[in-house]
């Protein structure tokens, strides 16, 4: 998938990383079309905001060590976290709504192995 293909929501949902995420949060199967679409559209919007497809976003959170092992990139993760904050603002969200929207994107990263600090919205 490239950034130009992002408008195709079904193609986006078919990406293994996205499918894994939707399955693990319990909206991937039959009978969850509406929820699945809602989550995927949030990710789609963030991808457009950041100018990257989902896998490129994930890749930016990892790095290869000198030994060739996969490691978390602290810098990449910080940058994505900052982009999530910007994304919330760009949508005119604030308070709980902003936190929830941002944490949906963090959820995608978490279910693909990127440890993210979810923000807390006190009830």
């Amino acid at each position: 998938m490239t950034i130009d293909d992002l408008d195709d929501i079904d193609a986006l949902r078919a990406l293994p990383s996205v499918k894994r995420w939707l399955d693990e949060i319990g909206v991937g199967g039959e009978g969850h079309e509406e929820e699945s679409l809602m989550w995927a559209k949030d990710l789609q919007a963030f991808c457009k905001h950041s100018g990257n497809d989902p896998d490129a976003i994930l890749d930016s959170c990892f790095r290869k060590t000198k030994q060739g092992d996969l490691a978390i990139s602290a810098k990449g993760r910080r940058e994505i976290d900052a982009q999530i904050d910007e994304y919330e603002k760009s949508r005119g969200l604030y308070g709980r709504d902003a936190i929830v929207a941002g944490n949906r994107i963090r959820s995608f990263l978490i279910h693909n192995g990127v440890f993210m600090q979810g923000r807390v919205a006190y009830p």
Partner: protein, 261 residues
């Protein structure tokens, strides 16, 4: 709560009621439990700094976030920063002689003031005090034992608690006047549990025979099924997860706080 049930009920609780303060009385009980823990040489290893979450500057709370600690920092109303004082050997001679004086250490087992002053201190304990590796090893082990008492005391008081990697040590040190001789060990978060008491079920453990041995290391400890059954009855061995409702419970709690699902 009975001892066995405390041990069996303890688990790392990560969902805490952020709105419910922990009574000072309960914090004192936790600290006293640590203070009463077994400790070699009767030395004063552990140190604790108790801070309410809302008294902790946000930049320090953020600095404490690390790859294993996240939302708990926002949920727990109380933080206990556990350290050991690397100067714990100081005064050990006197602390040991207190035990001699009260006949906890007695001549029957070879102890006397002269033994402490003329042999044990100069030939055994003083060299340990000057050996950095031994100093750190003993400090960490002995403080860990004290923290274990603190954790179980929290459970006994109906609290939820969990130990976390203690990062941001520099920030905490500067903000709260932590002495140079204190070595960070664990951060204990404390609060009232928000999740069901099972907290996802007792954590899985290997059978005793895989970990413990009798007589020789090729002879695994053989469990007596009657004792195992008794421990189930008395709460030390509890039902492990996953519980059928747990996924839903975590989802609901996540939604309560807007956390990632």
């Amino acid at each position: 709560m009975e001892f066995k049930r405390v041990v069996g009920t303890r688990r790392s609780v990560r969902w805490l009621k952020p709105w419910k303060p922990v009574e000072r009385e309960k914090l004192q009980i936790i600290l006293e439990a640590a203070n009463r823990a077994t400790r070699s040489m009767n030395a004063d290893y552990p140190r604790a700094l108790v801070i309410k979450r809302d008294d902790l500057p946000m930049e320090i709370r953020d600095a404490l976030r690390n790859p294993t600690t996240s939302a708990e920092l926002d949920l727990a109303p109380v933080y206990i920063f556990w350290y050991f004082d690397v100067e714990y050997p100081k005064g050990v001679q006197d602390r040991l002689k207190e035990l001699v004086a009260q006949h906890a250490l007695s001549a029957s087992h070879g102890w006397s003031d002269a033994y402490v002053d003329d042999f044990l201190w100069p030939q055994v304990l003083s060299p340990i005090a000057n050996e950095p590796m031994a100093l750190m090893f003993m400090g960490a082990v002995e403080t860990g034992i004290a923290i274990c008492n603190a954790v179980n005391a929290a459970v006994d008081e109906g609290l939820g608690t969990c130990l976390h990697a203690f990062t941001a040590t520099k920030e905490v040190k500067e903000a709260f006047g932590v002495p140079d001789t204190w070595i960070p060990v664990w951060l204990q978060l404390v609060g009232y549990p928000l999740e069901e008491p099972e907290a996802g079920g007792q954590r899985p453990r290997k059978p005793l025979g895989e970990l413990f041995f009798e007589g020789h290391c090729n002879n695994p400890w053989a469990e007596d099924p009657e004792v195992t059954e008794r421990l189930k009855q008395e709460g030390m061995i509890q039902q492990p997860g996953p519980f059928p409702y747990r996924e839903q419970e975590v989802k609901m709690l996540s939604r309560m706080f807007g956390l990632p699902e």
